[in-house]
């Protein structure tokens, strides 16, 4: 009887840990990813392209009329990290399955939407190795923040003198 109670309590505790996160709605995603800029869409698109270049991304898709951009950046692991991993896996598998660390591919998708004649909305979505990164992911937030700063700088730089 005592064992039964213990197992029941343990199961309930385990279930308590199985909290599932609900997928975000489009509105929630927008709130986290979309920012408004006080420039027309064509200028916002140019600023976004420029920010991607500045951040070291290679542009793969660019459609100015649709306001869509995709860019990718490759990041290779350091030689030291790769050598360490190779040696460790070789030792652990007795030379049978030495593994190296593949490069990481960071990608960014940008959608620029016109929001009136002098305003536009910019949505930045980061990807890591072909899979979308959650908007709450700290690394993704940092990437988006950096791109946003670069983009704002471009918008300010190209502001016509009044």
């Amino acid at each position: 009887m005592r064992n039964f109670t213990f197992i029941t309590l343990l199961s309930l505790a385990a279930l308590g840990g199985c909290e599932t996160t609900q997928p975000m709605t489009a509105t929630q995603l927008d709130a986290l990813q979309v920012r408004e800029v006080e420039v027309p869409a064509d200028r916002a698109f140019a600023a976004a392209s420029s920010a991607l270049f500045d951040a070291g991304y290679q542009i793969h898709v660019s459609d100015a009329d649709a306001g869509l951009l995709t860019a990718e950046r490759r990041e290779d692991p350091s030689v030291a990290a790769n050598a360490t991993l190779l040696i460790l896996t070789a030792i652990l598998t007795r030379g049978g399955g030495a593994q190296d660390k593949p490069p990481d591919f960071y990608a960014i998708c940008i959608e620029v939407l016109p929001d009136g004649p002098d305003r536009s909305a910019v949505r930045i979505r980061p990807f890591l190795n072909g899979q979308v990164q959650s908007a709450q992911n700290p690394a993704a937030r940092k990437t988006v923040g950096e791109l946003w700063t670069l983009m704002q700088r471009q918008v300010l730089m190209k502001e016509p003198t009044k």
């Binding site: 649709a66 995709t70 593949p102 939407l113 072909g130 899979q131 979308v132």
Partner: protein, 152 residues
Amino acid sequence: MIRALALFAVALFFAAFAGCEATPPLTPTQWEALETRKVEGKRDDVLRAASAVILDQGYFYTASDQAAGTVTAAKVPSSQRDAFQRSGGMTGPAMVDTISIWVIQSGPSECDLRVQYRDFGRHVESNERVSAFWSAVQRRMLKQEPSPATGG
């Protein structure tokens, strides 16, 4: 007796094959009907809403042509992640899941939206996924401001 048994076995063998009738592949017209939905709105607005839904679903754009009204996007399944990393990322040959959309103005205030899914290169026959995409586009259309009228 042995002959009768042999005949029975042969008959059973053919009967088993008859049960394995494969469903015939869909014709291009059937694919079109399965993948196309009507959306109220101007082509540019529908295309914008559909592009946003593509991002919502976790795909990255791989091709876009606003004039033609087409967008193609891809997503790397978890099982292909290592292959993707080791074969050059987006430019590499790793097998990915793709979505292609095509928006055509079919009336003064109506568009045809065609949505085509391919998982691991295989054309997906899924009415549910197309309908889910279409519903998401409809929701996006309700949210977004219509683009200004063009032309005279």
